[in-house]
Symmetry: C2
Subunit: 244 residues, 2 copies
C-alpha cells in the first residue's frame, strides 16, 4: 500500500485531505482510483488507512477506515553528524541512512568541508527534506528523520549525559567500535563522520572534548558515504534494532 | 602512498615494470616523479614498495625496496550473490561492497532480474573488473575481489559443508540474522540478495534447498543496494572483522 507523510492539518476526524503535491502524485503520477487504499502518516507515529473517494485535479481525499501506531522505528536513536561534501555523496548518505534508520542529521562545516558557509546550504534544505521524506516513505519508516541546522564543528556541543557519541577516525588504533557499542547502555547515539579528506587532529580533539570517542571501522579505508552507511547499520545491528 | 595492483609478470626479482594503463596513470595523470614511492600489489597478498626511477611515455618502472605481506583482508570470506539489476545500482554495490571487504561476487539471473541473458553481461565484465580493482586500491585491500561467472538462480549449487549461506528476504519473519551470525562457526559465508522486485517464493525455495537460510534485516525496507552493503557490513562486523 502506498505510504504518504501528510501535515497534521490534513488529518481530520474522519477524513484525510491530501496536500497539493501529494494530490498531484496520487491523481497524475500513480493514477489511483476511488476505493483504493493508501496509508497517511502524521510523522508522529500515527498511521491512518484511507479509502480514497474523491480523486480529481482539485482534490484528493478519502475516509479514514483504520488508525494504527507505527512499530518500524529503531529503539536506538542515531544522530548523524556529517561533514558537508559534494552534493551527490551527501544526498546518497541522507537517502541510505534514512532507510537504515537514522533519526536525525546534522550537516557539519569542518576545515576540509567543500562547503564553508551555512548560506550555501540554505537553498538545498527543501531538496534534502524531500529526499528524507521519500526515503522514509519507501523504507516504511514511521517518521521522517529530522534535518537539523547546519553547524560548525568548532562549536560542537557537549554530549548530554544520556548520550553516547563516536567519531569515526581512520587513524584511531586503540578503540574497538564493536566493544564500545556492546558496552554502552545509551539508546541515544551520536555518530560523527568527517568529510572526504578527513578531520584534522585539532578537530578530533574538539570531538573528544565534546565527549565523542574516536573509533575505527577496521583496516580497510571507507569512502565517506560508505563509512556513514556502515557505521549507522552496525550501530543498529549491534543494538538488536535489525532483529525481527 | 599510491597503491596499484599489477599482473604477476610485472614483478621481477628486483624491479617492477608497470603495465601500460598504470604507466599512463602514473606518468600522465598522477604525474609522479623519480624517487617517489608507490606500492605494487600482486593480488596474492604480496605488497612491494617501489622507488620509481624510470618515468616516461614508454616506460614506468622502479626498484623494489621492501617486500611485505598484506594484513588488511577480513578473515571472513564473503561471497555475494547479486540479482542483476540496473547498471548504476549494480556498480554501486560492486564498489561499496569491495570497500567493506567482500571476497567474491556472483551476478545472478533471477525471474525478476532486469537482465535475462548472460550475454548481456559479457560486455560489462571489463568495466566491472576495473571498478573492483579501483575500489580495492582505494580502500587498501590486499586483493581484488573475484568476479565470478554470471549464473542462473535456478541452477544454484548446494553450499559446501564448511560454508554458511543466508538469503536476504524481507518476508522472513522467523529467523534472526544477528543470532544466526553469532551461531555460525564458518569463515566462508555466502549472502544472496535478490534484485529490485525481490525473489519469488519458488526462488526462495531453491535457495533453501541449496542450504541458504532466509533472514531479514528488520522492519525497515531496504533498497537492494542498501541491503547488499548493510548485509556485508554486519556480517564482517559481527565476526570481528572490523575490529582494529
Amino acid at each position: 500500500m502506498n505510504r504518504f507523510f501528510v501535515p497534521g492539518v490534513c488529518i481530520q476526524t474522519q477524513r484525510v485531505v491530501f496536500p497539493t503535491d501529494l494530490a498531484h502524485q496520487i491523481y497524475r503520477v500513480l493514477r489511483l482510483h476511488p476505493q483504493e487504499h493508501v496509508l497517511a502518516l502524521d510523522n508522529e507515529g500515527g498511521i491512518f488507512e484511507v479509502e480514497l473517494d474523491i480523486i480529481n485535479s482539485t482534490e484528493v481525499s478519502g475516509q479514514i477506515i483504520k488508525r494504527d501506531h507505527g512499530v518500524n522505528e529503531a529503539l536506538t536513536q542515531i544522530t548523524l553528524y556529517l561533514g558537508l561534501t559534494q552534493r551527490e555523496k551527501f544526498e546518497l548518505i541522507l537517502q541510505k541512512c534514512t532507510e537504515v534508520g537514522v533519526r536525525s542529521f546534522v550537516p557539519l562545516i569542518t576545515r576540509r568541508s567543500l562547503v564553508q558557509s551555512g548560506r550555501d546550504v540554505e537553498n538545498k534544505i527543501e531538496r534534502w527534506q524531500r529526499i528524507l521524506r521519500e526515503a522514509a516513505e519507501q523504507s516504511e519508516r514511521d517518521i521522517i528523520p529530522e534535518l537539523k541546522k547546519v553547524q560548525s564543528l568548532s562549536s560542537l556541543a557537549k554530549l548530554a549525559s544520556d548520550e553516547a557519541g563516536f567519531v569515526l577516525w581512520e587513524e584511531e588504533a586503540a578503540s574497538n567500535f564493536r566493544a564500545a557499542l556492546n558496552e554502552t547502555q545509551n539508546r541515544k547515539i551520536s555518530l560523527l563522520i568527517g568529510p572526504e579528506g578527513g578531520l584534522s587532529d585539532d578537530e578530533v580533539k574538539i570531538c573528544k572534548q565534546a565527549g565523542f570517542q574516536p573509533v575505527s571501522l577496521g583496516k580497510r579505508i571507507f569512502r565517506m558515504e560508505t563509512a556513514a552507511i556502515v557505521a549507522a547499520a552496525v550501530t543498529l545491528f549491534a543494538n538488536g534494532d535489525m532483529d525481527i
